[in-house]
């Protein structure tokens, strides 16, 4: 299903809007280990408000762990995470859920939920135990569906959608939480190219503070405003894409060396991996 309702890059969801609430995320000297193995060695970074920050690094670099800590799902052994001026892990759970939304790589369920019901899950942090969703909640849900270009899908069964569509609905669910911050854990894995672009564009257009762990370096180059490169649980580089996606840094962290060009239109880096970058025993 080709998503042809992509908003122009960088534009807010509705022109003339003041934009949604947003706050910067600061990670201060976070450490974390499990079973005696240290995964994060004092990581600090800042994700500026209203911008998309990409988290890069090979498997085992600590991306997922850091992401879970920034999302408030795991407590750090040391250090803290600030959302705006508040220490994230000292906030009550529901408050946290109203300020930070989390998007998984892939979601699955056997239950025959309808799309609207999936998006409505995002309203849970806003509803009391015995409270039923009201007109306001309905409006937020519709807004979220529109923001991901799927207005009118409300009555479809979530299980009948394609992978890309399902991920967009999950994004809508996250948006329905009306968060200041969106945390995304490799949201484009398992998706085809059109769906990948669609998700990234909509995340960028959502104008929340975004922190996304990404595998695809080119996607990161195209959509992120800042990049943080992790290696072995430490921050190796932190800055705009052009400063982070350099051949030296990528080789240092990933072990492969690209050639980089600068796209004349956007000014963003373009990475080229030549064939002879493969395993050394094949050249």
């Amino acid at each position: 299903m080709i998503d042809t309702t992509l908003p122009p890059a960088g534009a807010p969801a509705r022109p003339g809007d003041a934009g949604p609430p947003t706050a910067a995320v600061r990670v201060e000297d976070v450490r974390y280990g499990i079973d005696g193995v240290q995964l994060l060695h004092g990581v600090s970074l800042t994700a500026p408000a209203g911008r998309l920050t990409g988290l890069l690094g090979p498997n085992g670099a600590g991306k997922s762990t850091l992401l879970r800590i920034v999302a408030g799902l795991t407590r750090p052994a040391a250090g803290r995470v600030l959302v705006g001026d508040d220490d994230l892990h000292r906030l009550p759970r529901r408050t946290r859920a109203r300020r930070i939304a989390f998007l998984e790589q892939q979601s699955a369920t056997e239950q025959p939920l309808r799309v609207r019901q999936v998006v409505e899950l995002g309203r849970i942090p806003h509803l009391g135990r015995w409270q039923s969703p009201g007109p306001h909640d309905g409006a937020v849900v519709e807004e979220a569906l529109t923001a991901v270009g799927m207005a009118g899908y409300g009555d479809r069964r979530w299980n009948t959608l394609s992978g890309g569509e399902q991920q967009r609905i999950q994004l809508a669910r996250a948006l329905a939480q009306q968060p200041e911050v969106l945390i995304l854990d490799e949201p484009t894995n398992h998706l085809d190219i059109a769906a990948q672009l669609s998700i990234m564009a909509r995340v960028a257009a959502a104008v929340r503070t975004g922190v996304a762990a990404l595998h695809d370096l080119q996607l990161a180059a195209t959509y992120c405003d800042r990049l943080v490169l992790l290696g072995h649980g430490r921050v190796v580089a932190d800055g705009p894409p052009a400063d982070v996606l350099t051949p030296d840094l990528i080789e240092q962290v990933y072990g492969v060396r690209p050639r980089t060009l600068t796209d004349p239109r956007s000014g963003r880096p373009v990475l080229i991996f030549d064939r002879d970058q493969g395993p050394t025993d094949l050249t």
Binding site: E104, G149, Q177
Partner: protein
């Protein structure tokens, strides 16, 4: 130049449901209707039986016991209605509701549509407790022994799972299976070595699930436990919804996944343990009824659970009525009927899902 095939960005809109009253009011309305139907079922089922006593007798008996009617029925007639049928019908309602709710919650917690209330070894533990009383002469009242057996099995399953009990769901299911197998083996051994002559009949009736032994004394204990636990469980409807995509999403929605999961498992254990204590291991109800009701109400727990509880109650009341009248004057253990009904219904549900999904 290639032609670009574009499809409309928006799917053909299905007719939007008319803006009706708030959903909670509708749900409340349906639940109330079902509760009334439940009350009617209790009275109607109490008017049916092997002895031919009818609604008039039921009303007279109840009226007399409540002090409204001056003259009651002859002693044995009254015993049939007040000592046999009424406790049995009420127990059937409570057990039906308990098992249906437990099944639905276990299916959500383990994210497995084939889960049933007995997944944690609860029924096997209860069976071990029951045969200990029936065959080994353990000096406890049968329902108490069955309940303790269920709780011990749950404790063993949790102990085996360890820290992971508060986290994922697969480990605890496996631990439950292990405990269930151990208890089953122990139960079989006790039956084999201690059952003399015809005592296996009583054990068999219990194992197959039977409401024949229902009486007021066990009802006054199990009843309040089931009602309170059921209401608490329904109160957790929203948290249960949050679990549908797994622990990470639930936590990100503000649910304390570890403690919530433990509380939910505890409530399920209370419900199932109480049910099994008074009626043995009635099968298939906890597995199939949630699917059948979900088919009508949708999977949102706020609508599913309040409808499922009375639905489960009504289902078991009438299934048990059939169990005690179909082969009158003999009685069929109700677990046989729930299996006979449940299995084809499950098949039909799978068949329908095959086409729609």
């Amino acid at each position: 130049m290639t032609a670009v095939i574009t499809r409309p960005a928006v799917a053909p809109a299905r007719p939007e449901p008319p803006p009706g009253p708030r959903r909670s009011v509708v749900t409340l309305g349906i639940a109330t209707l079902l509760v009334l139907l439940l009350g009617g079922s209790v009275l109607a089922a109490a008017a049916v039986g092997a002895s031919g006593l009818g609604p008039g007798h039921v009303l007279q008996s109840i009226g007399h016991h409540l002090g409204l009617t001056p003259v009651g029925l002859p002693r044995l007639d009254d015993a049939i209605i007040w000592e046999i049928r009424l406790p049995r019908v009420i127990t059937a309602g409570l057990v039906g509701a308990a098992l249906a709710l437990s099944g639905a919650v276990m299916q959500t917690l383990t994210r497995n549509p084939l889960a049933d209330p007995y997944l944690l070894g609860l029924s096997s533990g209860a069976a071990l407790g029951a045969v200990s009383v029936l065959l080994l002469g353990l000096g406890l009242v049968l329902p108490v022994a069955a309940f303790l057996g269920a709780m011990l099995a749950l404790a063993a399953a949790l102990a085996l799972t360890g820290r992971a009990a508060a986290r994922g769901s697969t480990r605890i299911v496996l631990a439950g299976i292990a405990v269930a197998q151990i208890c089953s083996a122990a139960t079989s051994f006790v039956i084999f070595s201690a059952a003399q002559g015809d005592s296996y009949r009583e054990v068999l009736a219990w194992l197959m699930g039977s409401l024949g032994g229902a009486e007021w004394s066990s009802l006054t204990v199990a009843g309040p436990i089931i009602v309170v636990a059921a209401l608490l469980l329904i109160g957790y409807a929203r948290s249960l919804d949050a679990f549908v995509f797994g622990d990470q999403v639930a936590a990100s929605l503000g649910v304390a996944t570890g403690p919530t999961r433990l509380v939910l498992l505890g409530l399920v254990a209370l419900l199932t343990g109480s049910a099994v204590a008074v009626s043995g291991a009635i099968g298939f109800l906890g597995l199939t009824l949630p699917h059948a009701v979900r088919f009508l109400t949708g999977p949102a727990h706020g609508r599913l659970l309040p409808v499922l509880a009375p639905a489960g109650a009504i289902f078991l009341i009438w299934t048990d009525t059939a169990a005690r009248t179909v082969l009158a004057p003999e009685e069929v253990p109700v677990g046989i009927l729930t299996a006979l009904i449940g299995a084809p219904v499950f098949g039909v549900l799978l068949w329908r899902q095959r086409r729609s999904a």
